[in-house]
Symmetry: D2
Subunit: 294 residues, 4 copies
């Protein structure tokens, strides 16, 4: 398949590489020359613009930082929607505002193109290993069209319902994740300060009603689990600033939908403080330092 | 074994009944005559006071509403500690302030008695079925001494470390549980309002990093799971006011320990509002009505 | 002076009327025909488009609902910046994102126009009475240029510093106002529930360190003050949904500026809940019903 | 008048000294020998116990750290209530739980004694200068009986209504104060970070609806006001840990009264974090460092 890949940064590059490994013919584009060079080194053809990149493609995959970037790449006279070939499949893997995702998909549909939103979880490690999870929004037919391509880059391709629902699933999941991580941080710190062994406490919680992914799979308390960021000074993993971005998308979507999200908003501010304190590049489980380090 | 059981209300009565079924000779006491009558009807001998109840007992089990009740029953001239026989085993199953639990255990030790704190989870259903979980604080030796008795009333008897740690485990677990339930309520409501099928969303979260016990085992969104309070109008289960009590114990313990627990305190106020709105007797998963019903 | 006035809704219409009263020749424009009809009835000339409205104007005043509206009216080929006469003074009275205000002012400057941001406080009552407060962002020279015009519509014209600072002052002030109103609501309710006369409590707080504008000038507790919305069922005044809009601007600006605003974010969610409960059109002091009415 | 003064620490000592200056004959008592020595050096007679201290007194003034201390000094066989002379006036200036204040006053009444709760504001500076504010709970007759004595130690003696209302006024006022200080800290930091001069912003807010005591009289932003703790590195003033104590009393009273106090609880946790970060002994306006110093 002839695939155009736009946005070959930390996440996009290994995803692009996995498409190449799977035998697809990939043409890449990125505004950052160094990113594009790396994609070419990995075997992609070099495009000189968005329009150039998508002109011959049967499928277009994009991995971009935020809603305005997606609008800018997809819309306008030289954008993907205007320049992609009739019948092309458009797959946006960026994490963005569900409303923007729906607007762009609507514009694509209006030009007879097939588009899905397919944000990912799994981080750069998952991108390299090809074990990402894709949360896909689009009709059943669009989902089936996108699935084989996504399966080259991830092991878990989930249909979330209509257009935009991939984004909804991603940001709502991450809002729960942030609250769970902070609640775990508070409870682990409190239990330890009240005299309990943190590992014993984690064991009890994880067999009980307090358990969550942050306590049983990604525990933030140093020394409780191996192989997690807490075991290596909070390096690697899913960065604080990326969590902060997703929380902003969630509280903004909640504002528009008129749903109060008190815990989500408090979690956002805790991460805002944590980032302002200089932990933006560390794994998001380092938020426990807001409690432990005082 | 000759067992004294003090506090035979909603929880204490079925626990007492399970001790009787296991063949223990139980003498019961309760300030509320109707409670005591029911225990006697179930086969217990009737005591006329705390002192009378514990005088001949090899083991004393207490199930009381709050810290002051525990102090009042255990301490003073006519209390359990003064009146229990040398060598008696004292087991307090109440959920109370860990600090009070430690003080009472210390006073017991000073008189040569063995005491453990053993708060429970599992609710009245677990008490009746004999499937409670006991979180036990005390030395290894004290834990082993208490274990056979607790095994008559529950299926899961967990050693949490030294005296008071049963309480620590219970209240810290429940603080995480409350935050998880509210976060699940917010995210489920938001996802639904943004156009996703709640059952599809729950399925995705429960296979991903946002999952917690409240989302995968006790989902508060009506129609998503069967057999949970959300499927029967939030009746039964673990009441809002009981959760509120445990959150108060957790934030108070955090105050004394000088640990900030921002999410815990916000969760407490959300439950305070929910109780003030008239939902105190409903299952704590009904907190989703704060979000859904607007 | 020949003035173009764009946006003659609830706020804009009385402001426009006050310019007419002061002797200015006003040409009005609004997308909503009914609004424009009322402005014409009040004495304004009717324009058929933004471009038509500003073509002959020495000054342009805009009063629009949100950032995208301001961008849309000012920017583009048919916008104010492209079509206003050289040397025209541009005054935007909308409350919007400070960053957007700065971008639009920058574009104006680039075309040799003078622009200030001048959001207001005082509500529709102040607009009608000509007693608004204007918080003005722009250079000292620009401020002096705008002042006479603003003085026709308000009694308090305050220079807040460089471009965008009018918006900063407005949204940061209102974030404090929202927190003060909620804190007053909580404390008044708590004092009353603990047995104190609310009027006595208000009197003490207002002579002490707890006082704020919401407690001493706009008390939300029914019966404590006369002439405030609480004395008339929370009608009139500054609507819940308008406060919600300003809180969104504040938390969004804080996100971009990387300042954690925990109380601001909690206040936003309390107002989100209050709006979702159906109080969006009531005065923002009705938030006390979240506490009193349970 | 023969006055017994119990509790002559940082606050009690200068209050005691002002009673001596006013010509009263004071007998002092304190568990801490060094405190008592200083009171004797200031002219008080030395008592050897609570009972000894109050035996001959016409009035008893107490200034103690917390509810348990007040209970311990007033109740029991050797306490103030049992040992004070018939007709003695009891004045408790401690800041404690309103419920405890009411219980102790009730016990006093039952023995035919007159008791008021009269917590203070004004800090050690006000205590030394004799310019304290007393918030007095008790009947009109009791208030009048206590007023002359309180007037020796303060300039503002306010009747708050029935017994316990002095405490209610104090803790509800301070809950508003804490929220106001944190909201001011957030808004001042945000305005400055968005490019506004902090002094200009303070000036605008203080003439507008965002103003509160923390912004117009005790501004926390360094350089905005003179003579406040922010102008001297946050030394002196009203300590973070004292604010934390009052917030705990307020949220605990709210819990018992079943009033949700979301902002109050968040403020408590912000101060808990600030104290845990090592700022417990600094003025409470130093909480702005949670925002500025990141």
């Amino acid at each position: 398949m002839r695939v155009a890949f736009i946005g070959v940064g930390h996440m996009g590059l290994p995803m692009c590489a996995n498409l190449l490994k799977a035998g697809h013919a990939v043409t890449a584009y990125d505004l950052v020359a160094a990113h594009l060079d790396r994609a070419v080194a990995a075997g992609a053809a070099r495009a000189t613009s968005v329009a150039d990149c998508v002109a011959q493609a049967e499928a277009v995959v994009t991995m971009l930082p935020s809603s305005p970037h997606v609008r800018s790449v997809y819309c306008g006279e030289s954008g993907v929607i205007a320049r992609a070939a009739r019948g092309a499949l458009l797959v946006d893997c960026s994490t963005i505002d569900p409303q923007v995702a729906r607007e762009v998909a609507f514009d694509s549909l209006a030009r007879g193109l097939t588009m899905v939103d397919a944000p990912v979880s799994g981080g750069t490690a998952g991108a390299q290993a090809g074990t990402l999870t894709f949360m896909v929004g689009g009709s059943a037919k669009e989902f089936e069209a996108a699935r084989p391509l996504l399966a080259c880059m991830g092991t878990n391709v989930v249909h979330c319902g209509a257009s935009g629902n991939g984004q909804v699933a991603k940001i709502c999941n991450n809002m729960m994740l942030a609250a769970g991580m902070i609640a775990t941080s508070e409870a682990m710190t409190l239990a330890a300060r009240l005299g309990m062994d943190p590992t014993v406490f984690a064991g009890i919680v994880n067999a009980s009603s307090g358990r969550c992914w942050s306590s049983d799979t990604y525990n933030p308390y140093p020394g409780v689990m191996e192989g997690v960021p807490a075991a290596r000074g909070y390096s690697g993993g899913f960065g604080t600033d990326l969590m902060l971005k997703d929380l902003s998308l969630a509280t903004e979507a909640a504002r528009v939908a008129r749903v109060p999200v008190l815990l989500g908003a408090v979690a956002q501010q805790v991460y805002q403080k944590h980032s302002a304190d200089g932990h933006g590049a560390e794994d998001f489980s380092s938020v426990i330092l807001q409690y432990l380090k005082t």
